[in-house]
Amino acid sequence: MSAAPHDEERLGELLGMLPPAPTGWVQAAQELPEARRQLDEIVERAREDAAFRVRLLADLEAALTSAGYVPRPALSEALRARLAELDSA
């Protein structure tokens, strides 16, 4: 913590320099660990279960929903990239 003296006007200015980031951004960043865990789990299942993989490739959002996942845009986007890697491997 700064030991420099602050007048109250300056304190107000400094407090005003840090508005909150949009709530949705913060929430998405906080959900990252769980999103990564889900992503790994789905990719692993797609690797082992050919039928699931076909369903994912045909309609990703529907396949995720029927498997009990919430197809959030970030998850779908990351999953598409990982499935493409899996396909090219």
Binding site: S2, A3, D7, L15, G16, L18, P20, A21, W25, L32
Partner: protein, 184 residues
């Protein structure tokens, strides 16, 4: 998290996979990362959002490589700075934009460091002071909005802000605030 952890303790708990610690880390530094992107580099909201998510994703992936846990703040600042520069350069390929000078960015990050110190100082104030100062200065809310949200007469907000600023100043200067029976 009920007990205020140091940055180093927070990093250690994040490494151990504690979701609550990760939530706190994101919460603690979200304003700082956001401000570097929008104030330091003047990114648009869309670009700032990409940078914001990218910085926390990299933080999550690379926390193991942080050598000094107490240095999480400068580490984040550097990562945000790099992500902003990458974003601006990628954008320049499509539409020429002016990149802020390195000295300007250094100066702004220095001011944001000072701002974050002050913001952290808020944590040592009573909750009603924290809220009124944050709402007025950081969220730019009017006396009327604050009064409605906190169920206080709008006419008392200005004096409350002044009293709470005094407490914050005393806190930052390491003096013990004088007792205030009203608590705010």
């Amino acid at each position: 998290m009920t007990i205020e952890l140091t940055d180093a303790q927070l990093v250690e708990r994040c490494r151990a996979g504690e979701q609550e610690a990760w939530n706190e880390l994101v919460e603690r530094f979200s304003r700082y990362v956001y401000a570097i992107a929008v104030r330091g580099f003047r990114l648009s909201e869309n670009d700032a959002e990409d940078v914001f998510q990218d910085v926390f994703a990299r933080t999550f992936e690379r926390l193991e490589s942080l050598r000094d846990d107490t240095a999480i703040r400068p580490w984040l600042a550097q990562m945000t700075r790099n992500a902003c520069v990458d974003r601006l350069r990628a954008g320049t390929r499509e539409q020429p934009t002016e990149e802020p000078l390195a000295d300007e960015v250094d100066g702004e990050i220095e001011r944001l460091d000072e701002a974050l110190d002050v913001h952290e100082g808020l944590q040592g104030l009573p909750p009603n002071c924290r809220e009124v100062l944050d709402r007025f200065f950081a969220r730019d809310e009017s006396y009327r909005v604050i009064g409605e949200a906190l169920d206080l007469p709008a006419g008392t907000i200005a004096s409350r802000i002044s009293r709470c600023l005094g407490k914050l100043r005393e806190k930052l200067e390491g003096r013990k605030p004088s007792p205030d029976p009203s608590g705010g």
